[in-house]
Symmetry: C2
Subunit: 209 residues, 2 copies
DNA sequence: AAGTAGTTTAAACAAGCGTTTAAACTAACG
DNA sequence: CGTTAGTTTAAACGCTTGTTTAAACTACTT
């Protein structure tokens, strides 16, 4: 395997588990078994390496997501469960693309939102706006009564639920094993969260005060 | 004001805004206008300082929360909106206790959950178990059909929603101003999130597969 | 007034960080 | 074979980190 890919793989799992700030280039190059200077040679800087790790996933994911969400919009009367279920297959397809792909990607998403002062939010909204646009369209078709303002809040809450859940999914799976004797996978976590966020976004419009 | 409190105040706002890993002792002592060595003299280490910042809030908050949740349990037929609304007054009371108290505390909670590999989860569950126990009791009384396993998941999702929302509440308030011309406060964010999490936790039990 | 416990201070410590340098190595082409 | 472009390497750079040291200062007690 190429040095570049060895770095990307090592950086990905370390970033997912310990955050961007919490992972040093020496840890990455140590786990990748390459020279320290290779990161700056191939990627220029640590920040560019972070972008490269995220891009590798987003380039795989965003066309699948956009197409799945467009399909939902073509349903005659879609509901919110349909909308959120559209995420399942594209997300799980990351596991074929790479071992632990789904889990790593979702954890990275969580890290990027809390580490590094909103840099990742800028990255996603500017580099991959198509996903967000199609998602909003699908939600609007499923719940037309939802005002733009209310939608803004609820989509943000949903982002929080998903990102936070996934960034601690390893711990959750461990607890499910010890407390309920269940052997769960990341796909089970995804399936569990869908009814929750669908109900949250679909909550009745609150009365004006 | 005492050196100790100057350090605690500076550390609190810096930790909330930049995370625990992202804040150096030199930034803290610089903003507090005290000597660098004062942190280690008064608190022993950075880790102990983090605990002290969290404890200052939890010691104020946990008795109020426990009592509010116990009151909910005494309602004849409480619903989930009652349960989550019980958090409002205790959380907002932190604003009397300190400027920006509510916002800072909730942001710190979010930081602690994602920074520092679950150290804060250990801290909260071992040091303040009474809050969690009373919360679970109140949810059970409001939604008895919810299985223990389903409850575990949904409470975790809720934690994620709240913690993530609050850790980025400053950004949210800014967006609400620019996009919808609304001047919101942290209390408005709290009131917005309650219908969402109440609906999420109250979602119908999924069919067995 | 001398002594003492508590606090503050400037300075230094060792360790880790991201990045840069320049030399060594590799492989392909003319 | 010699040259050249691409890659890897060890070493060092300058800087920041949390922590420690020992001297200076403060305020209260004997």
């Amino acid at each position: 395997m190429s040095t570049k890919n060895k770095i990307l793989d090592a950086a990905e799992s370390l970033f997912a588990n310990k955050g961007f700030n919490g992972t040093s280039l020496r840890e990455i190059t140590g786990q990748a078994d390459v020279n320290l200077a290779a990161v700056n040679y191939h990627f220029g800087s640590k920040k560019e390496l972070i972008k490269a790790v995220m891009s590798r996933y987003m380039n795989e994911l965003s066309p699948r997501l956009e197409s799945a969400l467009r399909q939902v919009c073509e349903i005659e009367a879609p509901n919110l469960i349909d909308v959120f279920s559209a995420f399942i297959d594209p997300l799980l397809s990351l596991n074929k693309f790479k071992d632990n792909g789904t889990s790593n990607f979702l954890q990275l998403l969580g890290r990027g939102y809390t580490d590094s002062q909103g840099f990742l939010r800028w990255f996603l909204t500017t580099q991959y706006p198509g996903v967000i646009d199609n998602f909003v369209l699908a939600v609007q078709k499923s719940y037309p009564e939802l005002s733009a303002e209310e939608m803004f809040w609820r989509l943000h809450f949903t982002m929080g639920t998903v990102v936070f859940t996934m960034s601690s999914s390893d711990a959750l799976i461990d607890i499910a094993k010890s407390d309920f004797d269940r052997d769960l996978q990341i796909s089970d976590v995804i399936r569990n969260v869908i009814p929750y966020v669908a109900a949250g976004v679909g909550a009745p419009m609150p009365l004006k005060r």
